[in-house]
């Protein structure tokens, strides 16, 4: 199979134009929003300049993604895997330390965040792995175990930076990929159970922090002790194990035949959830706990933790249907909206472009997701389908987290919105991802 194809050859094969236009539209809107958002900052020129440099770079990345046959990532997945590890180890060794994490390569003319590229490479590697596992073995638990082994070095290195937001986006994308690849729903369900149990305990303990008076009650005290007292942990583990055995016995009496393994796994997952929660609880950074608190009670302290979300909502709400016009949003111009050109850029858009601007962005995102799904179903092989599913999962997560955060549906995670937020590495990586999708499209059946 020819690995390199000339641009001319590719151009003859049809690119998906709706996806291309939606992408261009978002990039254009993003550039406008960034220019408007940073207008009042003293270093606005530097930001705009960087973004204008990142744009052609990103379009170049798109062209590279488009012109490379995507199947090369499948064939050479070991190299891609090695590339990821090399980048992540490299950034730990040579990266610069900024804002509490070591996640930047600072080069003479520009800086880059390797985890952005790694995120997409990881999806390509997972897709390749799942393609190789074959459809029959997809149902086995061994697939999940092997995948876990494959990914643990990557996530381990990312957590060493640490780059929390990278995990937040990549994990759901991998789950989406697994789901679409036909993984056993029971195991995915167990994963979800694990996340729910861990999340439940984390939220409960944070809630106890917010309301210390509840710790006086019996239930509150038990919850509190669970996180800090080994005896309580052991007691709880026994209780869960007992319940698991009881459920197994009950089903046996009913003559409902279910593999014993299911009960053992369910029990183990609940316990893992508990200990995962305990780990999270005891190792959460103050600003991360603050975010959880804000999510639980955004109005409790409008000047404190909830301030950012509240100000973002004020910005959007005051924009109304038509918006205040570019460069004239008071909330963003006067600095009430925090991180206005990165995490909260949607608030700026909502204030200055109004409802129509927000709906336009949302619509363009949905259009991108829709085209990716269409391309996935037309792909000529399973690998193309998997790649599209992974990238779909990634953009879906981006969209949910960014819009949801502003609307108070999900906690603030500090995750940029691709194409709109300022951030060169993210822009380049996202454009490359769409290039890869276009490559899947150009190699579809019947072309």
């Amino acid at each position: 199979m020819a690995v390199f194809k000339t641009m001319r050859e590719n151009a003859r094969r049809k690119m998906d134009m709706p996806l291309f236009y939606a992408m261009l539209g978002l990039v254009l809107l993003g550039a406008l929003c960034i220019m408007s958002a940073v207008n009042s900052l003293s270093w606005s020129n530097a930001i705009v300049r960087t973004h204008l440099v990142a744009l052609p770079l990103g379009l170049g990345a798109f062209a590279v993604g488009l012109s490379f046959n995507y199947q090369i990532y499948n064939e050479q997945w070991k190299w891609v895997y090695g590339f990821i590890l090399a980048l992540l180890v490299g950034v730990l060794l040579f990266g610069s330390y900024q804002r509490g994490s070591r996640s930047w390569f600072v080069l003479p003319f520009f800086s880059m965040q390797p985890s952005e590229i790694c995120r997409i490479c990881t999806l390509l590697v997972v897709a390749a792995f799942l393609d190789r596992r074959g459809q029959q073995r997809m149902y086995d638990v061994s697939t999940l175990v092997w995948l876990g082994l494959l990914l643990s070095p990557i996530f381990g290195l990312i957590m060493m930076q640490p780059d929390f937001s990278s995990v937040v986006v990549t994990l759901p994308a991998i789950v989406v990929l697994l789901y679409c690849a036909g993984a056993n729903l029971f195991y995915l369900g167990l994963g979800a159970l694990f996340a729910c149990v861990a999340g439940f305990f984390t939220l409960s303990w944070t809630y106890l922090y917010l309301h210390p008076e509840l710790a006086e009650t019996w239930l509150g005290n038990v919850f509190y002790q669970l996180a800090h007292n080994g005896w309580y942990m052991a007691g709880f583990s026994l209780l869960v194990a007992g319940l698991g055995w009881l459920a197994w016995w009950f089903f046996k009496q009913l003559r409902l035949v279910l593999p014993t393994l299911y009960f053992v796994l369910a029990t183990l997952v609940v316990l893992a959830g508990l200990f995962g929660g305990i780990l999270l609880e005891n190792h959460m950074k103050p600003h991360q706990r603050k975010r959880v608190e804000t999510f639980l009670a955004p109005e409790a302290d409008p000047q404190g933790a909830g301030y950012n979300v509240l100000q973002a909502q004020i910005a959007m709400g005051s924009g109304g249907v038509l918006g205040k016009g570019l460069f004239s949003g008071t909330q963003s111009r006067l600095g009430f909206v925090p991180e206005k050109h990165t995490d909260f850029i949607l608030a700026v858009a909502g204030e200055e472009l109004g409802l129509w601007g927000m709906l336009l962005m949302l619509g363009l995102y949905i259009a991108i997701l829709w085209r990716i799904v269409v391309i996935a179903y037309e792909s000529s092989d399973r690998y193309g389908y998997f790649v599209c599913a992974g990238i779909f999962g990634m953009f879906f997560t981006y969209m949910l987290v960014n819009f949801g955060m502003l609307l108070g549906i999900v906690p603030v995670a500090g995750i940029p919105l691709p194409f709109i937020s300022y951030g060169g590495s993210n822009l380049v990586a996202s454009l490359w991802a769409l290039g890869v999708v276009q490559s899947v499209c150009s190699h579809r059946i019947g072309v």
Binding site: A181, T330, F336, L355, W370, Y377
Partner: protein, 598 residues
Amino acid sequence: MTVFKAHFDGRLKTLLTVALVAGGVIALRLLDIQVLRHDNYVQLAERNRTQILYQTAPRGRVFTTDGIAIATNAPSFSLYYLGTAHADKIYLQQLAKDIAPYLHRTTQQVLSKLEESGKTGKATLLVDGLSTQRAVSLQELQQYYPGIYLLEESKRDYPYGSMASHLLGYISSMTDAQWRKRDPKLGYRLNAKIGKNGIEHKFEPQLKGKDGGVYLEVDYRGRVKRIIQDKKWVPGSDVYLTLNFAVQQAAEEALKNSKTGRGAAVALDPRTGAVLALASAPAYDPNVFVPYSDQELPASSKRINEYNLAIQGIYPPASTFKIITGAAALEEGNIDVTRKINCTGKYDSGPRVFKCWGTHGPVDFFDGMSNSCDVYFYAVAAAMGPAPIERMERKFMIGRPTGIDLPGEKAGNLYGPTRRARNKTYWFVGDTLNLSIGQGELLVTPIKLAQFAAALASRGNVYRPYYVDKIVSNQTGKVQSVGQPEILQRADLQPQTYDTLYKALKHTVDDGTARRAKIKGLDVYAKTGTAQNPHGPDHGWFMAFAGRQGEEPSIALAVFVEFGEGGSSAAGPVARAMLEAYFNINAPTEPVAPHTEE
């Protein structure tokens, strides 16, 4: 059409459906925030970016007839802190240290105030009433601390201090009850000061202007970005009084320098009843209620004497009442004014011997009046009886308030046989004699006596005294006329009665007890009085009316000096000073330069 078919084929499509549903939920929430709750968020955004600093508008000024403002406004500055939760600690500590001296507080107190206002995120008034000088030095600090803001406001100022203070009243902060009863249309703020007495109270709605406001645009740190709107204040309406500045000033000066420094002087225009001067001593300086923040005032300075002796002090009119006795005799007693009565210093009424204050020998009506001979009037009254005197009292409305529009005016007391009969007690000859020289239960206020003098001067017009001429709106220029001449009653006596009285009173000035009021070029008519006071020194009275030679009288006045002993010696100089000031004679009284702030 795909190359592979599997049981999981639809999973990506399911996810797309999920994405569409999520998009729908997000769109609905956007609709909720950006359309349904748009107005609410617009308000919040506006509150975020604007800080309104109100500027107290200048109150209307108060002018005398000669156009001198006796109540005006002075610039005053307020220091605001535009609070923000994001200010850092070191900045605040430094700021607190630097501005603490201007606030008369410790650095720690200022710091906690700054931090507290940072939490609310609102503009906080740190100190108001800064003088121009202090404002200038604070303006320099404003360069270094962008969070503080100096605002020009207006402060009440009484340039002549205690001038007409009893008439003007004063302004001060609202009490709880006043705040509850305030007129919501006037837009009072909590720290507003309102008129508490006199003109300041009476014309509060007109005097109060519309406050201005500076609408500032601030960023999230509270730094002022620009002024969005500077809503200019509208000053209150100006009040024009009928007071004559020179006369008022002369009266106050002279009262202050009189024997005891306690008393009252009232001057009226006999042609209209307009008040030319109304002075009570001791007076107070209304400026003590509106000090600059750096003015050190003893706490006792706010314990002012609000007692307005001119309208609230009631005393026996003493010998000035002999005019009424004389008028009664001329009208009804059928006396021969040239007939002489021998004054031996005492008068034997039968049960009791009444004394005269001197021994005058044979005196006729004119000598009796000019020397204020008691014996002459004892004899006249004894012959005439008390009833005509009481009737004459009623003609001049003795015992009734003058009706001046000031709160708390006392009526005084009418004295006579009819009044006594109402009380179901007897009337004795001694009562008649006491009445004839204005002693006994007879009581009048200084303004009553001035009204009486004006009635004499106008040959019988008992006017209601008024002191506000007009109110001129600074906003529309509309002139509202307030005071109008109003004749309460006519004292219709025969013309020759007035002629005789005029002659007698002129004689008193030319060659009698009221010689102190003799001024070249003027026709002055006057009468003195010394009210006997069983509890201490006697009180001095002096009533007069005057006009330029050959012209009708244009000023009528009454002066009272408490414990002044002699009417002529204590009250006379005050009256003379007022007359000189009014007719601009001898010492042309220049208005004293307004007091200047240090």
